[in-house]
């Protein structure tokens, strides 16, 4: 009987650790948002930036220097929040893909969704062709091609019988196909177009705006609660198709729904940012190493880790060579990879 108490207390401790981890990440994120908002040519303190944020939210209650409020709300805050949402979404998409495909290398990038988006953007840049015109030509193409890749993976997996290995193989095949198309477009494009395509693949949050932020947050607000609601099914699928089926999960239908949701989240983010790799791959790993793989906590926690990583990288990208802004995709790799390797080498059970 005494041992039973020990077991239940042990599980309670595990739950507490997870809650603390998520709480800590949230606190860190709030602090980092405050710091990130101060970065730029106009100088003001962290306290002033918080005040400016609050003043915008509750105009009567808080007041901040007018200049700070204008700069924060018109130029900086949407970029900072966009980085938070993009990091959150990419990490959640990566967690879902790694879980249901049971492949530690699965991410929107290894599955061809991102390379398809690059192809879509390249077609817009080099050939000027796209489904939607005007300002949204590149974005629209990237989004559509990303979803097209997801559908193609689904189609191939469906034909061959949906299993995690089929999906991974189909994803890799798709990745190579789209990379080849992008290379061809780069080959035929002018020097200027080539530059634009290459720059797009670096990935950055430079072009964020409030409307774009609204679109991304709306998609996240619609999809993430659903993923959380089905966390037990994700847990079961992460153990294997047969285990999940034995536990009452409709495997095929669930795999499709989860893949499509993860692809949609990825597509809506990278069509605005270009390819920001690494976050979707690494944030879930870091989180699993810290608090284990229960999707009820893995999803929010890896989302927060992703948000912190991307916002941190973007802050470094903006300040290290200021006023020059480095593409954030480069910084995420430079900062994140050594950190990830360090964790990986020190934790056997990753």
């Amino acid at each position: 009987m005494e041992q039973n108490v020990v077991i239940q207390e042990g599980y309670a401790r595990l739950k507490k650790t997870r809650a603390l981890f998520i709480g800590g990440l949230l606190a860190a994120l709030v602090i980092l948002v405050g710091i990130a908002v101060t970065l730029g040519s106009a100088d003001f303190t962290v306290a002033e930036s918080y005040l400016a944020i609050l003043a915008g939210l509750f105009p009567g209650t808080f007041t901040a220097p007018e200049m700070a409020e204008i700069i924060v709300w018109d130029y900086r805050l949407h970029r900072v929040l966009f980085a938070v949402c993009a990091g959150f979404g990419l990490a959640v998409a990566g967690s879902v893909m790694q879980g249901i495909l049971r492949n530690p290398l699965a991410s929107p990038f290894t599955l061809g969704v991102a390379s398809a988006a690059t192809t879509g953007a390249s077609i817009a840049i080099v050939l000027g062709a796209g489904v939607v015109g005007g300002d949204y030509l590149v974005i629209g193409n990237a989004f559509l091609f990303a979803l097209l890749a997801a559908l193609a993976i689904y189609g191939m997996a469906r034909y061959r019988g949906i299993g995690s290995e089929t999906m991974v193989l189909a994803g890799i095949a798709i990745m190579y196909l789209f990379s080849a198309v992008t290379s061809l477009l780069q080959y035929v494009g002018s020097a200027e177009q080539l530059r634009a395509v290459v720059f797009w693949t670096f990935g950055s949050v430079d072009k964020s705006t409030w409307p774009k932020l609204a679109i991304v947050s709306l998609v996240l607000a619609c999809t993430i609660p659903y993923l959380l609601y089905r966390a037990w099914d994700l847990n079961a699928l992460a153990e294997g198709d047969e285990v999940a089926a034995g536990l009452g999960v409709p495997v095929e239908r669930s795999m499709i729904v989860f893949m499509m949701i993860a692809s949609l989240i990825t597509a809506v983010i990278i069509c605005f940012t270009g390819t920001i790799g690494f976050i979707g791959l690494v944030a879930p790993h870091i989180t699993r190493m810290a608090i284990g793989g229960d999707f009820r906590t893995l999803l929010p926690a890896s989302g927060l880790v992703g948000a912190l990583l991307l916002l941190g990288a973007d802050s470094v990208a903006r300040s290290v060579l200021a006023p020059q802004v480095l593409p954030v995709g480069i910084v995420t790799a430079f900062l994140g990879v050594p950190f990830f390797i360090y964790l990986f080498m020190h934790r056997r059970d990753a």
């Binding site: 041992q3 039973n4 077991i7 239940q8 042990g10 599980y11 595990l14 049971r102 609601y229 966390a231 037990w232 099914d233 847990n235 079961a236 992460a238 153990e239 294997g240 047969e242 285990v243 089926a245 034995g246 536990l247 009452g248 999960v249 409709p250 699993r288 284990g292 793989g293 229960d294 009820r296 059970d349």
Partner: protein
Amino acid sequence: MPRLSVEDLSFSYRDRRVLHGVTFSVDAGEVLGLVGPNGCGKTTLIRCVDGMLTPDGGRVMLDKRAIRTMHRREVAQAMAYVPQSAGNRTAATVFETVLMGRRPYLNWTVNRTDEEKVVAALDALDLGDLALRKVGELSGGERQRVMIARALVQETGAILLDEPTSNLDVCHQMGVMEVLRGLAEEKGLSIVIALHDLNLAATYCHRLMVMKAGAVYGYGAPDEVLTEEMLRAVYGIEAVVKRDLAAPYMVPVRSGSLRGGA
């Protein structure tokens, strides 16, 4: 009335016939061993029984209900399935892995009763000390016990296991079979186990069903089924079946080495 009955089941992968005319039943408290050479259809049969594969013909009845008419969640509340080499990929703790067996009943939160059921199952399989260890760190035998514990917290009347003893040494094989036989008899569970080791099957199962090329070759008590003639017809091997212990056991013989009076 048996708890689980399978009548005239047939199944094909595209145009290749894998199962035909399979009929058997399992009572409460009974362990049925499915034996037969590789590729004879044991795994396919188990998947059809659990409703993961849809048979071309025949029916599977569980507690007087046809599996085909049941929702997946209902099936999971009535019948647990332990696939071959399950748990190899698990990074979670033993406690959480077993807790997942409550999935057919859980919505989102885990209440005290669920936790207590997990603790009881861990207790039943002597896994209490390992509860907070990661499944990946355990030995093959311990891992298999975790999978059985998970099937137990599903609180089903029937459990299907696909080669639960493969990759285990003889001590752990016996340990796992001992647990399963004990559970069947104490809790009145109906257990179906696909096995390769005929001696293990004859020792621990109440009845054996021998399959050959997707059909039932023999079905009955180990004494009736495990014969030299069956081994020759189904496996194409020469062996001697001994009957000097409580259960029959077979000793394979190298061709040409059978001596008179052996």
